[in-house]
């Protein structure tokens, strides 16, 4: 089969893995080598669905011995199958890289023969790129559940990032859709990777030249909407992965109706993009805004409000915390003001050392005053706050102006990458 045809098949087959990030690693170029990693990552293009292309994201092969209900590559699907040779993959990666098309490679695969057999192939591509071609660009490899610790360790020595996808957010639903899999088989490699990272960090503290192990850490992906799991279940799982497994990223992938013949799957008309977007926002609250899961979702609100973002939702449920004085409040509280992002919170802290800030200053710094005005006091007469107006009133004012904008998933801007 021609390389072009393989690339078509094996990139189409990889597109549902939403991660394309090239961030988190600052690998340097070596003498006579090619490439380096940019800590913040670089997007090189954007697909027609508006997602960043940073890496060459392909499967090694789309043949698979498993039959997971939600996957286009499942063995019972009658589709063209292909497999790259190591040389083909290396060639494409290097030549794309030299033209500044990509930051590197994200290689995943269906499971052929055995987990070890597959893992070894993936690790070998990375090894060849690093050792024979002195390639120092970004490499993200999929860790195959069930692969031996040695192979996962080898992969981690050459990769910048490893990931194992959980896909289905709860054990019983995973059992239903992928009876051949279980949570433990996914959590095991995550544990191995975590230990590898910690060990290498420890060794490098003592000997600076010790090898790095997946400097950009590990990530995973959860499919949203293929199962009845609530946002609370999903976010609790994510939060546990961040704190206990030290994951760098959890990706949420709105279920794209595939394999419609399989009656275990819901009949969705379209992928649940809005919900996916709200989950990303909630995820940001967990990672950058010092929120706990229970502040975002709880018994009374197990699912995120699709109409308003989760931070506004929190503020409207807790009007007694507002208005907040932007000239006094600490970072933690500034971050809770709707309309104030991480950047503007930091700018407020820095700027107010020089002088007291008024609403015009805030506006110019980048605070979205249209939202923030109900939740703050600053250096002037206070406007009507959420306490004066009632949460319901503020909610209806803000959702009205939101609806007028009608930008599909506008908030998603800036969340990818």
């Amino acid at each position: 089969m021609e390389t072009l045809q393989k690339l078509e098949i094996l990139s189409s087959a990889a597109k549902y893995d939403v991660s394309c990030s090239s961030s988190g690693s600052s690998r340097m170029n070596t003498p006579g080598g090619i490439g380096n990693a940019a800590k913040a990552g670089i997007c090189h293009s954007f697909t027609e669905d508006g997602r960043c292309i940073s890496l060459l994201k392909v499967l090694f092969t789309n043949s698979c011995k498993y039959d997971c209900a939600y996957c286009i590559n499942r063995r019972s699907n009658d589709i063209p199958r292909a497999a790259f040779t190591v040389k083909e993959l290396v060639d494409i990666t290097i030549n794309f890289y030299r033209r500044n098309y990509i930051e590197g490679l994200f290689l995943s695969s269906g499971v052929v023969k055995s987990a070890d057999y597959t893992m070894e192939r993936l690790a070998n591509v990375a090894k060849q790129l690093r050792l024979e071609h002195k390639f120092n660009g970004y490499i993200h490899l999929k860790a195959i559940p069930g692969a031996s610790p040695e192979l996962i360790h080898m992969a981690g020595l050459y990769a910048d990032r490893l990931s194992v996808n959980i896909e289905i957010p709860s054990e019983p639903n995973l059992q239903l859709l992928a009876p051949e899999k279980d949570f433990q088989s996914v959590l095991n490699p995550m544990g191995l990777i975590k230990t590898g990272i910690e060990q290498s960090r420890e060794e490098r503290r003592i000997m600076r030249k010790s090898p790095v192990f997946t400097p950009a850490g590990q990530s995973t992906q959860l499919i949203i909407g293929a199962t009845p799991d609530s946002d609370r279940q999903i976010l609790t799982l994510a939060s546990g992965l961040y704190t206990q497994k030290s994951l760098k990223r959890v990706y949420y992938s709105g279920y794209n109706p595939t394999n419609l013949y399989d009656k275990r799957l819901p009949a969705l008309a379209a992928p649940p993009l809005r919900r996916e977007n709200r989950l990303y926002q909630a995820d940001w609250l967990l990672r950058f805004y010092q929120f706990g899961v229970n502040e975002i979702v709880n018994d009374t609100n197990p699912d995120l409000d699709l109409e308003i973002d989760p931070k506004l939702g929190y503020a409207l449920r807790n009007p007694h915390l507002f208005p907040i004085d932007v000239n006094r409040a600490d970072y933690h509280m500034l971050l809770r003001i709707p309309g104030v992002g991480v950047k503007s919170a930091k700018m407020i802290l820095a700027a107010r050392k020089f002088r007291r800030l008024n609403s015009a200053n805030l506006q110019k710094i980048g605070v979205v005053m249209k939202r923030a005005q109900y939740f703050i006091t600053c250096n002037e007469l206070p406007a009507a706050s959420v306490q004066d107006l009632s949460p319901e009133r503020v909610r209806s004012i803000l959702t009205m102006s939101e609806r007028r904008k009608q930008l599909p998933d506008a908030v998603q801007l800036g969340l990818w990458g």
Partner: protein, 254 residues
């Protein structure tokens, strides 16, 4: 009304600042050649002096540190209409406080410089994102680009460490100059008889490497197949990747 005229260079502007301090004057405008002058203003013509410029620059560095210097220089590259006065007032504020002021964002000129700095850096970052190399028949990788601001010099270091084992040319087609890297050193060049089309910068037929078409085809095919049709959102795509860059993009160019 007092109007300073300078030669449009950065040392020229620094000289203007020096002179204003020295003459204890507060100009109402500092104008580069071609800028719209003030009515009935008295004009002072600044004569660029490396020595004066160096002294101002050293002063800014001493009080504000390297970061302040970078902010001011990046802001200058924006060629914004008010950038000269913003840099002048910023410097006055800096020297009056005798401490870095870059986070005094409620000060209008500090904020202005801050915003222009960001804007220029965003454009520089877009060069990293959207620049594309094509390999020429002799093996050199060629990349044309026409950034909105003169930012190619800011990103050359990135390409030098990344593509250290290939010879390349990055050429600013709008400003008519570029940089050539021969895998050892970088030199600034001007191309007299271009073998690339002036609109897209694409190498002319016959001057590109025989394999080049193959890689274009593979990349375009990848670009197409990695997209999810059910999630199509062209507005989002255009927000991230403004149309003005499409002419350089192998995957978007017709």
């Amino acid at each position: 009304m007092l109007e300073y005229q300078y030669d449009g260079t950065f040392p020229g502007l620094l000289t203007a600042i020096f002179d204003a301090f020295n003459r204890k004057e507060q100009p109402d405008a500092i104008l580069r050649p071609g800028a719209q002058g003030l009515l009935f203003a008295s004009v002072y013509a600044v004569e660029t002096s490396e020595e004066k410029a160096d002294r101002v620059w050293a002063g800014i560095k001493r009080v504000g540190g390297n970061t302040t210097c970078e902010h001011l220089y990046h802001a200058f590259l924006s060629l914004d209409e008010q950038v000269e006065m913003a840099i002048f007032s910023y410097s006055k504020h800096l020297f009056a406080c005798n401490a870095p002021v870059m986070t005094d964002l409620a000060h209008p000129d500090v904020l202005k410089v801050h915003k222009l700095d960001r804007m220029v850096l965003r454009e520089a970052h877009r060069v990293l994102m959207f620049l594309r190399f094509e390999q020429a028949a002799d093996g050199t990788y060629f990349a044309p680009f026409a950034p909105q601001y003169d930012v190619i010099p800011l990103v050359i270091g990135h390409f030098k460490s990344r593509f250290a084992d290939q010879s390349w040319i990055i050429y600013d087609t709008k400003r008519g100059y570029g940089f050539y890297f021969n895998t050892q050193t970088i030199e600034q060049i001007t191309i007299e008889n271009p073998t690339f089309g002036s609109a897209t910068g694409k190498l002319r037929q016959g001057t590109e490497h025989p394999d080049e078409d193959k890689w274009h085809e593979l990349w375009r095919s990848y670009f197409k197949h990695i997209s999810i049709a059910e999630r199509k959102n062209l507005t989002l795509q255009r927000n991230f990747m403004p149309k003005r860059f499409w002419k350089y993009l192998t995957e978007k160019r017709l």
